[in-house]
């Protein structure tokens, strides 16, 4: 028998990124006004990693933010929020537990395989098993879904949501769902912000090995220069295209996560009453613009639209300037946290 209809009053807001958007919306539902950039900053989402030995579609992996799931876990821990996670072997049981939570008026975050979500236009569907959304009700055999990449809530048929929650493949979600079970009586937002900033500065400046943080950006710069010399033009363009896709994906217009972090620093300036963070926010925006320049020049090289001055060596130079700017920024940010402790 189908579960009864239910609609939990849930305020949907579109966001730039599913993980931070879902957590921001869930926390707001439970009375804690935390924006998406705040979740991103507190969860120390900013990152860089170039992994030539990890292959995605047979090409090296580049990451511009912390690994999926880590931002959420760090943010709830730093805010003192209790988030309960469940996963299931049996899809039927996984859907039944979801229905039960909805009847208890609890909005539920779900990890899903985006390919199976039928409300996505077909051309935007791809096999990504870490897509987050919130289920907040049922109507006529379909679920009411707050999917943060959509401007309005959407309806998802039961069978499609079941397939998405139990999608197979790499990083299969296994029906993972999560919901808030405890909120702090007096959340230490300022402390959470400071811990998030300190964490990012440490990772970006001091992560071990050559592949992570600002050292990783420099490593990528050297690699980009070598691609032009050592690889066939087509192979070099494929590698470059992979970096740009991971940075931009369907026209975000720049190193999007750098801009989200700049918005976080702007909010943090108000919260910590420290105007110097505003200057650092502006510097982070300038870094995002430089990453955007890298993507634009790189896209022209990939698509053979490049002018004479747009070369792999020039791209490496842009990357080194990104690394220099980010190094200075994180040092100043860490020093500011230390000085105002």
């Amino acid at each position: 028998m189908n579960a009864p209809d239910v609609a939990i009053p849930f305020s949907h807001r579109q966001s730039a990124h599913c993980e931070t958007g879902v957590l921001s919306n869930l926390l707001r539902h439970h009375g804690l006004e935390v924006s998406e950039p705040m979740v991103f900053g507190i969860g120390a989402g900013l990152f860089f990693g170039y992994f030539p030995f990890i292959r995605l579609n047979r090409l090296p992996l580049t990451a511009f933010r912390a690994r999926t799931g880590a931002i959420m876990k760090r943010a709830v821990k730093r805010l003192g929020v209790a988030l309960t996670w469940e996963k299931f072997r049996d899809p039927g049981k996984g859907m039944a537990v979801l229905d039960r939570k909805l009847l208890e008026s609890v909005p539920v975050g779900c990890r899903t395989g985006a390919y199976w979500l039928s409300y996505f236009p077909e051309r935007y569907r791809f096999h990504f098993n870490m897509h987050n959304l919130v289920v907040f009700g049922r109507r006529d055999g379909a679920y009411l879904v707050s999917d943060p990449v959509f401007p309005e809530p959407v309806l998802c048929p039961e069978e499609d949501l079941k397939k998405a929650r139990f999608a197979r493949g790499i990083m299969a979600p296994r029906g993972r769902m999560y919901y808030v079970t405890g909120m702090p009586s007096q959340p230490d937002l300022r402390g959470a912000v400071r811990r998030g900033i300190t964490d990012v500065c440490r990772t970006m400046l001091k992560a071990p090995g050559p592949f992570l943080g600002v050292k990783g950006i420099r490593y990528l710069a050297t690699s980009v220069e070598r691609w032009a010399v050592r690889l066939e033009p087509r192979q070099a363009a494929l590698r470059l295209g992979q970096v740009i896709r991971m940075q931009e994906e369907i026209g975000t217009g720049g190193g999007g996560f750098r801009f989200i972090y700049a918005a976080f620093l702007q909010e943090a300036a108000g919260l910590l009453q420290d105007d110097r963070l505003l200057t650092l926010s502006e510097r982070m925006t300038a870094v995002g613009d430089r990453w955007r320049e890298f993507a634009l020049v790189g896209s022209r090289i990939c698509k053979q639209r490049a002018g004479a001055a747009e070369t792999y060596a020039g791209l490496a130079d842009i990357l080194r300037r990104c690394a220099d700017a980010e190094t200075g920024l994180y040092r100043d940010l860490a020093a500011r946290m230390e000085a105002t402790r």
Binding site: R123, I250, G251, T252, R305
Partner: protein
């Protein structure tokens, strides 16, 4: 030609010229045709250039991935985005 028709015409020429669509003429792009995918062979790498060109020629900024998905679907959606931009 109305203002909207002129804008669509300009957009189509911009897409063909700046994205080097050598086998496509502007008038072959339908107002509702999906721009990305098999039809014109455009992908997310081309979207980077398109976002840049829209800012350069029309002063509009696409801020994030979600907006990009919606706005860059077709000439009609781009046209609506440009026409509905807030006054400076």
């Amino acid at each position: 030609m109305s203002g909207e028709a002129a804008l669509k015409d300009r957009l189509k020429r911009l897409i063909v010229e700046e994205l080097n669509l050598v086998h496509v003429r502007p008038e072959e792009i339908g107002d509702d045709d999906p721009l990305f995918g098999d039809r014109f062979g455009l992908d997310s790498i081309d979207a980077v250039e398109l976002v840049f060109q829209l800012k350069k020629h029309f002063g509009v900024v696409i801020k994030n991935q979600s907006d990009g998905r919606t706005i860059l679907q077709s000439v009609n959606t781009i046209c609506a985005f440009i026409e509905n931009r807030p006054a400076a």
